[in-house]
Symmetry: none
Subunit: 418 residues, 2 copies
């Protein structure tokens, strides 16, 4: 089955609002075993909406629209669909009852404009809106009647607000799909790697996965700074075993550079490991300026294992809080192996923790020298087994530098904990 999504909304094409429907709907469809082959966004104008729906009905088995069902003057979808398919809009008693009840329950007068929400194209199935007033609508577009599509297609119209659309999809659209579309077996697994470039990852796994690709496996790559996701997808009866076998091969070849699956984040894994071991963590950050502490404290329950962080931007703070020797910073530099080491052991002592991670470096754009150019990073991990120091050159813009450097620090801690 081919699914196409039509998002309507001028605010989307003016770039004032982020379109989150695309990801949310695509993910739900693929998890249910259906494939979205195209997504399009058009403005809230009658012509643009009608044209996009007409084109999509000419290709897809199922077209899903979002938005344009509300009561305001820029809501066109209902009228344009009726016009396009040549069917009448008729008042629906169930919707009338639902909207009356909606406002009565909230003790608010019903706005007159909501009456248009009771009108539906003749023959439409109705999905009542458990979190709002505008219903969802489903229409079977018969090629004999409408001559728009080569084959029978379904048109499903959903309201725009995410807090109305999400429950409506789960409560009504998923069962609707189950009734009308046989589900194809589908498997999707993302393996997340750190510290290896995109080309290198592909070089290592391409040839060994070749046989499985011939059998229907689809391999995708998604590179982020410092990390590469490998996506393994298959459809049909052998989907599960194919993806599992591919995952086994990738795990064997990329081994310790793989840190997680699907939506796993390094900070999640590190906090979970520390909680499991009942061990504690402290941080000492210079060039990353608190981002590492921010990432750790994004995880609910971090307070069980995370004691604190000394963000020592000034050298005076490094000596005062962490006891880094002033002479050492003068002789070796504030960005050096020795300073990183002293910051980590200083933080371990200051916060009385099992582990302490320190980072010192040059984020740029200014502050680089010949010996320590912009992007230079030293990080140290003080653990119950001693201290290790690591050196990187992360020559990125300031924000990417901070993201990549904290990612590397979290990966260092992950490897020590697993």
């Amino acid at each position: 089955m081919n699914v196409e999504i039509v998002n309507t909304g001028s605010e989307l094409l003016l770039g004032r609002v982020l379109n989150t429907h695309q990801q949310w709907l695509c993910r739900r469809f693929s998890d249910l075993g259906h494939e979205v082959v195209r997504q399009v966004t058009v403005a809230d104008t009658a012509g643009a909406i009608r044209q996009a729906i007409q084109e999509a009905l000419g290709r897809a088995d199922l077209v899903v629209t979002t938005g344009g069902l509300g009561p305001t003057s820029d809501d066109f979808t209902r009228e344009e669909v009726a016009g396009l398919l040549g069917c009448k809009l008729v008042a629906n008693a169930a919707i009338h009852h639902h909207i009356e009840e909606y406002f009565a329950k909230r003790k608010r007068p019903r706005p007159a404009r909501t009456s248009v929400e009771e009108l539906v194209p003749e023959g439409a199935q109705i999905f009542l809106n458990s979190h709002g007033t505008a219903p969802g609508l489903a229409l079977c577009v018969n090629p004999n009647l409408f001559a728009l599509s080569r084959k029978p297609a379904w048109l499903v119209m959903l309201p725009g607000p995410p807090r109305e659309l999400h429950p409506m999809f789960n409560e009504s659209v998923a069962p609707f799909l189950h009734r009308h579309f046989p589900q194809e077996a589908f498997a999707c697994l993302t393996l997340r790697s750190a510290g290896v470039g995109e080309s290198k990852v592909q070089e290592r796994i391409e040839e060994p996965l070749h046989q499985l690709v011939c059998e229907g496996l689809v391999v995708g790559y998604c590179a982020r700074p410092g990390a590469v996701d490998v996506r393994l997808v298959a459809r049909g009866g052998q989907a599960g075993p194919l993806v599992q076998e591919a995952a086994r091969i990738v795990q064997e070849l990329l081994g310790p550079s793989l840190y997680g699956r699907d939506d796993d984040e390094l900070e999640d894994i590190v906090v979970t490991q520390l909680r499991h071991r009942k061990q504690t963590l402290a941080l000492a950050e210079s060039c990353t300026g608190g981002l590492l502490a921010h990432r750790i404290t994004n995880i609910p329950g971090a307070s069980e294992v995370f004691r604190g962080c000394a963000v020592t931007y000034a050298n005076a703070a490094k000596s005062r809080l962490l006891g880094v020797d002033d002479g050492l910073m003068v002789s070796k530099g504030a960005v050096s192996e020795e300073t990183a080491r002293a910051m980590a052991t200083g933080a371990q002592a200051l916060f009385s923790t099992n582990y302490a991670l320190s980072i010192t470096g040059v984020a740029g754009p200014a502050g680089g020298t010949l010996a320590t150019p912009v992007g230079t990073v030293f990080m140290a991990l003080a653990s119950p087994n001693g201290v290790s120091v690591h050196h990187y050159l992360n020559a990125w813009d300031r924000q990417t530098f901070k993201a990549v450097t904290t990612f590397q620090a979290l990966d260092l801690l992950r490897k020590a904990l697993t």
Copy 2:
């Protein structure tokens, strides 16, 4: 001019990655006075990419593609465009030189696969990638030669990673647009306010702006937690004066709640003010876990004014680093006016700064009590003129809580500095 955007990426249609290109590009185009009329996402397959580009070229004056220019096997855009337009792919010396230099600078061997990035459709303009290897490409599609479009159209191909695409757009695509497309007079100004709700903002300015709206001004609102942007837009000969007059009225009515224009961020304003005054800042964070320090240190030059931050998540850290009295935390609570005050004066003394900001609160989801429910925040500002303490209830999810709370803290400091 009609612009269409074609986003390629199977990860987008599988719902594995959020498409942020749509909003970012649409916003930049509309700020430059051009209108995006359609955005489409297709999978990383040769056929889907070719079809989407072909259709878009048949309608638009400018088609922009994102993604599919990298070195891996699911990168098809370059080849499909050459095939569609019937032009050869030729190796380009400038790109070769750029990629060689890119890897040499990072002291990494150049992966063999990156050689495909040197190939460009014959006749293409090249935008070198200042943050990566794959270049952007621009091709003029002449209807006499290609018989695809009714009129001459431009096809601009940009790389997928946002940290490559954003600077390339600003450095190369914006000047390219300026050269090739006459710009309609267009003015757009966003005024950013903090601490006033969206309906309240609209109530105050709607009526006073009415006359200008009749003359063609378009007013838009964008609410974020804790903040509201007011967008003033006009087109045509009077665009500039209309928007300026509207801005004057809004400034008069919203006064001190306005903190900046367009993309100004509070952290920018605060760091600039401190640099200007040659004054220094320290922070003490508990529930925000380092995010405030992260935001301050995102600003280049922050090191001139920012000395450091004590992220004191555990109570023991609050007493050890900041000298907060243990008895006080027991009697008044770690989340209290008194603890916030002691944290701020402690940080001011520890880092020897003019200003110190402290935050203590309950981020949730767990940890709330009847007296201090989830969302409770106390923050204190120690300045040369004494200490002020402020109380908020920010009942949001954990990440929004951190964003809103640090925004309020920055706004507090802004008001003290201006």
